[in-house]
């Protein structure tokens, strides 16, 4: 039971995995102590006073006290002191967590779309979607923006959230302590599928990360399987390529996620489903049934075409 409850805090704001999140965590815990003390005081008084001073007989009137200046000064003074303490604690935490960007160049740009994430890595042509690989131990500057409505980047274990606003670039610093998978989600209501706009940050050791980056720079390999080749032809010459890119082929659409290494992702549709051929088949059959509102229209493909497309996309590792 206790072990189960411990699981509740995994991936929460208390499971800090970056110095930024750690700073916020200690401030939060400080606040919890102070407010619990305040809460306890009010709760005890709100129970004690009514019990102690309940009406015993209705004839006599109690002493008519209209106020007490000394108590009033105390009532204002104590909260005021607390407020000042927390203001300065907040101030120092803010400048530690989110110092001005200065002339620093962002390590990657993350763009919010209805309803998926796009990550473009600086100094490389890698474009990832939804599963965002980051190296541990390095202080990274994320540039955040949006192409449509306001979204919000939030991975609780890595620190605070930041809005992604169309027409504006926002920035966030993050230094990940240890490798692992960090769950997050869009935290600004962004329309129909706001719920399925989840983030997976895959934090890797620098060597693994470099390995991933190199692998993802590579263009798509020419297929040799006939079903896959049929799928590739369909993808390139049917409507898919007008919205999706696959580097190294003619598909260069920019509306939807870049699918060059789609097969290497664990999940699809921004965390909605596991990335399996069955789910992919279901999605391609009728996107509006799987994720209503998503901007991918329903193409009335034959079953063979969908099978070919599934085979093609699944092998894009």
């Amino acid at each position: 039971m206790a072990k189960d409850l411990l699981l509740f805090t995994a991936q929460s704001i208390f499971d800090a995995a970056s110095p930024q999140a750690e700073k916020i965590r200690s401030l939060t815990i400080g606040f919890i102590w102070a407010s619990s003390a305040m809460m306890l005081l009010v709760a005890l008084l709100a129970i004690y006073i009514p019990i102690k001073y309940r009406a015993k007989n209705s004839i006599s009137e109690p002493k008519q006290i209209t106020g007490n200046r000394r108590l009033e000064i105390l009532m204002v003074g104590v909260p005021m002191v607390l407020v000042i303490v927390f203001f300065f604690w907040s101030l120092t935490t803010m400048s530690a967590v989110l110092p001005a960007r200065g002339t620093a160049i962002p390590d990657l740009t993350i763009t919010g779309h209805q309803w998926w994430w796009e990550a473009r890595y600086s100094k490389s042509k890698v474009i990832a979607a939804n599963e965002i690989h980051l190296p541990v131990g390095r202080r990274l500057l994320l540039q955040l923006n949006s192409t449509d409505v306001i979204h919000d980047w939030w991975v609780p274990a890595l620190g605070g959230k930041m809005d992604m606003i169309p027409g504006i670039n926002n920035y966030l610093w993050v230094t990940i302590n240890k490798p692992g998978i960090y769950e997050g989600a869009c935290s600004e209501f962004c329309g129909q599928q706001h719920a399925w706009m989840r983030i997976r940050v895959v934090a890797q050791l620098p060597t693994d990360y470099q390995h991933w980056l190199d692998a993802n720079q590579a263009d798509e390999k020419q297929p040799n399987d006939s079903l896959v080749t049929a799928g590739q032809a369909l993808f390139t010459y049917a409507s898919c390529s007008s919205c999706h890119s696959i580097n190294g082929t003619g598909a260069a659409g920019l509306q939807g996620p870049n699918l060059t290494h789609f097969g290497s992702r664990k999940t699809m549709l921004a965390g909605m489903l596991d990335n399996t051929p069955e789910n992919l088949y279901r999605w391609l059959t009728d996107p509006q049934k799987v994720k209503p509102g998503a901007h991918m229209p329903r193409f009335i493909f034959g079953q063979d075409s969908i099978r070919a497309l599934t085979a093609y996309l699944a092998q894009l590792k």
Partner: protein, 559 residues
């Protein structure tokens, strides 16, 4: 020609009682300019929308009861949560507060009606038709679906092409006009229609809070109305105020909305502070602790309320300098709000406390509102806000303030003034059941949501993955929601039973202090024939206990 005119029934001697059937007919209510009837209509309107907004959220909670649920489509879910929020704020809490104010204000200051009775009727009907217009959207092609604060550019035509958001604009504009005109009426009534001997320093605290509140309304609503009109221009005439794709600013909407929206939060709580400042003294048999202090902190809240709106926008990337300024002001406003809790505790201290249901809600409020207030302070601490804003922690916080604060206050006021308004007593035993059921359901629903937020659950999601702990906490929340619904059902039964067959109420059943308890229950059409001279904040108590009258005592304040 004569028969072409509609014969509007004039109210006769006594007011019709609460049930429409036994009165002089519906037309007499519709045509009424009497502040008591208009006040009662405001309160019924609020009950109607409480039921509608409550049913909406029950479906929402059902959808969230289990992970990956398919009960509702995302489209339907988004319409329901948007309508729930908009309804509860603009058509439940606001009309309920204005209902009490419209009914009680003239009675508490010894006047026979509001300063502008026809404007008073206009205010009510503007609110009424605002609500109808908002709900007409369901028939017109879809309700608004961008949340009650309706952020740009999601509120633009290309992201929400159903007419819902247009109805949102028209509905809120119309009801907003009603709110503003009612506030003008309150200000003039308070300043010009007090019984001659009542100085400002002798006004009941409820009247004081309505006075402060009315100025808040007059200053805050123009910002909302401007934003709504700009949005309508965007949607209907292709203006570009909020569309960044064509040179507008998405963030501008947030500034305009919250410049209204944060004062609105105080608009929904200051009058509640007024209600409690009447209830605590009466059931404690003591005067309010720090009368001037309560007014002073109310004024401080009203002034600071206009300097805190950016704390809704700490995660929009405005920079640390701006954020620090608004962190300071937001932390500051917590102080005058928080100290009032101690004013009421000190009012009870040394008293002779009677546990009527009204008082039970008041005592429970002290605890619940402190929870909501403290979680509110955590949003003024910017880094904590960065983690917790727009999560279920906010949902928990705002419900502790709006329910644990505003609604508890309205319930307390309802049980306190119901005998005056209806002339009937409510069933005390059943009312106690209602109290405990509602308090239990409320805490069950919202306490766990603090944890859900810290665990990473964003607000406004139509479903969620089955992460550790999410399913069970959401299920608890849903069960709590249904308990609250059962409690509200019981409340409506209690009210109807009270009106139909409650015991007859005396003019002054609680041995109260203020002028409204001098007249009969319910009051005659003309509130007062004569009012005794007002010499202190508790004129009716002075009258009942001349040997112990406040004005005879030396002012022993201080030490």
């Amino acid at each position: 020609m004569e028969e072409n005119y509609l014969q509007v029934p004039e109210p006769e001697q006594a007011l019709p009682d609460l049930s429409i059937s036994s009165s002089q007919g519906v037309l007499q209510w519709i045509s009424s300019v009497d502040h008591k009837q208009i006040g009662i209509m405001y309160l019924w309107l609020s009950v109607l929308f409480l039921v509608i907004g409550g049913l909406e959220v029950l479906v929402v909670r059902l959808q969230l009861a289990v992970p990956n649920n398919h009960l509702l489509s995302p489209e339907a879910y988004n319409q329901l949560f948007t309508m729930h929020g908009t309804t509860m704020i603009f058509f439940v809490l606001t009309p309920a507060i204005f209902g009490f104010a419209t009914y009680l204000l003239p009675l508490m200051i010894g006047a026979n009606d509001m300063a502008f009775p026809r404007l008073n009727a206009f205010s009510f009907w503007a609110t009424f038709f605002g609500g109808i217009l908002l709900y007409f959207s369901f028939l017109a092609g879809g309700a608004p679906d961008a949340g009650w604060f309706n952020y740009a550019p999601l509120n633009q035509y290309n992201y929400s092409s159903s007419p819902g958001i247009d109805y949102y604009c028209f509905g809120l504009l119309l009801s907003g006009i009603g709110t503003v005109s009612a506030s003008v009426n309150f200000v003039v009534t308070i300043l010009k229609f007090r019984i001659g001997s009542m100085s400002l320093k002798q006004m009941p605290l409820f009247v004081w809070m309505i006075l402060i509140n009315s100025f808040l309304v007059l200053a805050a609503f123009p910002s909302l109305n401007a934003a709504l009109i700009m949005l309508l221009l965007d949607r209907q005439l292709h203006a570009h105020f909020f569309s960044s794709a064509s040179g507008g600013s998405a963030i501008l909407w947030q500034h305009l909305f919250w410049l209204f929206g944060h004062p609105e939060v105080y608009i929904l709580i200051l009058p509640i502070f007024g209600i409690f400042s009447e209830v605590f003294p009466v059931y404690s048999r003591k005067p309010i602790f720090g009368y001037a202090f309560v007014i002073g902190s109310g004024v401080a809240i009203a002034l600071l309320a206009f300097g805190v709106w950016v704390h809704h926008m700490f995660a929009t990337g405005l920079g640390n300098t701006v954020n620090n300024f608004f962190a300071a002001s937001s932390l500051l406003i917590g102080v005058p709000t928080g100290v009032k809790i101690f004013n009421w505790l000190a009012t009870m201290y040394g008293g002779a406390i009677r546990f009527k249901v009204s008082m039970l809600f008041a005592i429970a409020f002290l605890v619940e509102f402190t929870i909501g207030g403290l979680s509110g302070v955590s949003f003024a601490i910017v880094p904590i806000d960065w983690q917790l804003t727009d999560t279920y922690y906010v949902v928990a916080h705002l419900h502790y303030v709006f329910i644990g604060g505003s609604l508890f206050g309205l319930f307390s006021g309802l049980f306190y003034w119901f005998p005056k308004i209806s002339g009937k007593m409510l069933d005390e035993q059943l009312s106690r059941w209602f109290f405990w059921l509602f308090v239990a359901g409320f805490n069950l629903t919202f306490l766990v949501q603090h944890a859900l937020g810290a665990m990473g659950m964003p607000r406004r999601v139509y479903t969620y993955p089955n992460l550790p702990g999410w399913a069970i906490l959401n299920l608890i929340s849903t069960v709590g929601g249904f308990l609250m619904a059962i409690a509200v059902g019981l409340l409506i039964y209690i009210i109807v039973k009270g009106i139909r067959s409650g015991d007859k109420a005396a003019a002054d059943p609680w041995d109260a202090n203020t002028l409204e308890w001098m007249t009969s229950s319910p009051p005659e059409l003309k509130n007062f024939d004569r009012v005794m001279p007002v010499k202190s904040t508790r004129p009716y108590r002075d009258y009942k206990r001349p040997e112990d009258a406040d004005w005879k005592k030396p002012n022993k304040y201080g030490k």
